[in-house]
Point group: C2
């Protein structure tokens, strides 16, 4: 198939709770040709945010120095469930109620006069890691992103697998410890309630409330943060803070159980683990997860044929993946 | 594609711990044209069993009244992990150590002079249910069979999905209750240790050992069985035996958790539940499972788009599925 010149670039947007990140990538090799970042200012409502997304896209295109007609499509990843077929955001708890059933594809398409595609942030992150990151060259992989929550995106046969209701990959809500702590979704024992950064923070606060000493309280004070960021947790871990070390070990153990459950069901080529803690702590975070996971594999032969690796695109995975997905859907 | 006359029939074999079941099916519609059953007599070793499989196949072909040249291929499902590419059984704990690395494809191919394909019993069962049973017409489904253990077979994009090490679908070893009872595989908290017939039996025996009355002890005596079959458990449940009712409710709850974990990961069109208990108890078994599962879905919209249904081919799913798989692999 001859590739026309016009196909050479595509825009991807990662729309997050605090910032909007837009990239222009080369459609042939994923090289980032331009980028722009803005604050989301979610409190202003969906229309205002759509306007800011539009501005970030224009700025990224300007930065790429490409002519506008070289841009083929725009992909957007949002932090919540979507209906990609209808081009509608179902809801975005982090962004507010004005996003319930918000027709983002129509809104952006009207503003930017380009085809727009939509998916959730972890799905586009998985596509990014699969196409240009850690999962390059695999056919079947699962990306798991650990942050405030735990989300996943599934690539099967080289394509994003979305499921019959567009809700495949919700690994954070797989039950791994019946009777365990309550999840944000209202049910108990889900992976997100045990292995997310939020779960680690909850455990550390509980230990401190019970009178245990931890340097985390000093680190929070010094940095002026009110949540325990990956950076704070990493620093406390590196300093050997006992409360933090044990909370992180617990979370690693549960993440390992989650990985094992996914591997026993899917036996994929690769599990890609991403998110702030993995980025901050690197293989020190990965190794115990891998050990616990492999211990629970039913097939204990050739365990390393299921590669468990760290994501490699960092913050850019979502925006790059959104761009790739837009191009894939355009070609269909 | 014109279909030659020679393609019209294919043989499937379900090789179980106690019996061998062979069917000849019409390649166009799955109609069973001939069948034969033999005892496995596993104690005589792999070569002797292969000989008996061969005999059952010849008998099924004879029963079909087809000419031998109308048979295109043979598929076999075995109760253990296999390497379909190499045509080798990895091991079969139920059949004995002579099956470790046993080259069944070569052995049967030599005896029967036909192409032979191999997979594990739950994978062929899933293929059977997908092609001619409850899952007919779906693209993405998961079959879960509950018996002595819990096994599963995954159909994605209309094809059996085997995984990178041929061990996809091992849902019985997904951890759902960290710290729970020990599984046969040596690890704790797996679904098989909580929701299999074996788990129900263990719970009932524990209750009886603790002095609780149960009619199961009388039923075991009357039937002369030393294990609690689905029929015995179903009778005790129907009689309102408290110990049995509570053990079965517990197993249903855990099966529901397992289903929810699979749905949150895959969001498939259908979950097919099979095995003796589901056959014996019908919707009385299915309903509580569905209820628990749906409660743990993260996506609570359109919950019934993920159909949770009972298997419909009963004992024949494995043999029919093995035949279908043989035909599919022949065509590749």
């Amino acid at each position: 198939m001859a590739r026309s010149r016009g196909e050479r670039a595509v825009v991807g947007v990662d729309l997050g709770g605090t910032s909007i990140y837009a990239v222009v990538i080369d459609a042939r090799d994923g090289r980032v040709l331009g980028a722009a970042k803005r604050k989301t200012e979610a409190q202003k409502g969906a229309d205002a945010v759509a306007e800011r997304v539009s501005g970030a896209v224009e700025q990224a295109i300007a930065g790429s120095q490409l002519k506008r007609k070289a841009i083929r499509a725009i992909g957007v990843g949002v932090p919540g469930p979507v209906d990609p077929q209808a081009g509608v955001v179902v809801r975005c708890p982090n962004l507010g109620p004005s996003w319930d059933s918000y027709p983002l594809v129509r809104e952006l398409g009207g503003r930017l006069d380009l085809p727009v595609t939509l998916d959730n942030d972890v799905n586009v992150g998985a596509v990014g890691e699969h196409t240009y990151g850690a999962g390059k060259g695999t056919q079947d992989m699962l990306a798991i992103f650990v942050g405030t929550g735990i989300g996943g995106g599934l690539i099967l046969g080289g394509q994003l697998y979305t499921g019959v209701r567009y809700s495949a990959g919700e690994v954070g809500h797989m039950v791994i410890a019946d009777g365990g702590p309550l999840c944000g979704c209202g049910e108990a024992g889900h992976a997100e309630a045990l292995a997310s950064r939020t779960a680690i923070e909850r455990d550390i606060r509980a230990a401190m409330a019970a009178g245990r000493e931890s340097i985390v309280s000093r680190l929070l004070e010094e940095t002026g943060r009110d949540i325990m960021t990956a950076s704070i947790l990493g620093d406390a871990y590196d300093a050997g803070d006992e409360v933090t070390v044990s909370a992180i070990h617990r979370a690693q153990y549960y993440l390992g159980l989650l990985v094992s459950a996914c591997v026993n069901l899917l036996d994929p080529e690769m599990i890609v683990l991403g998110g702030g803690l993995l980025e901050r702590m690197g293989d020190a975070y990965l190794e115990p997860v891998r050990r616990t996971a492999q211990q629970h594999y039913i097939n204990k032969t050739e365990v390393d044929r299921v590669a468990i690796v760290r994501a490699s695109l960092g913050d850019q995975a979502g925006a790059i993946g959104a761009a790739v997905l837009a191009l894939q859907r355009l070609k269909r």
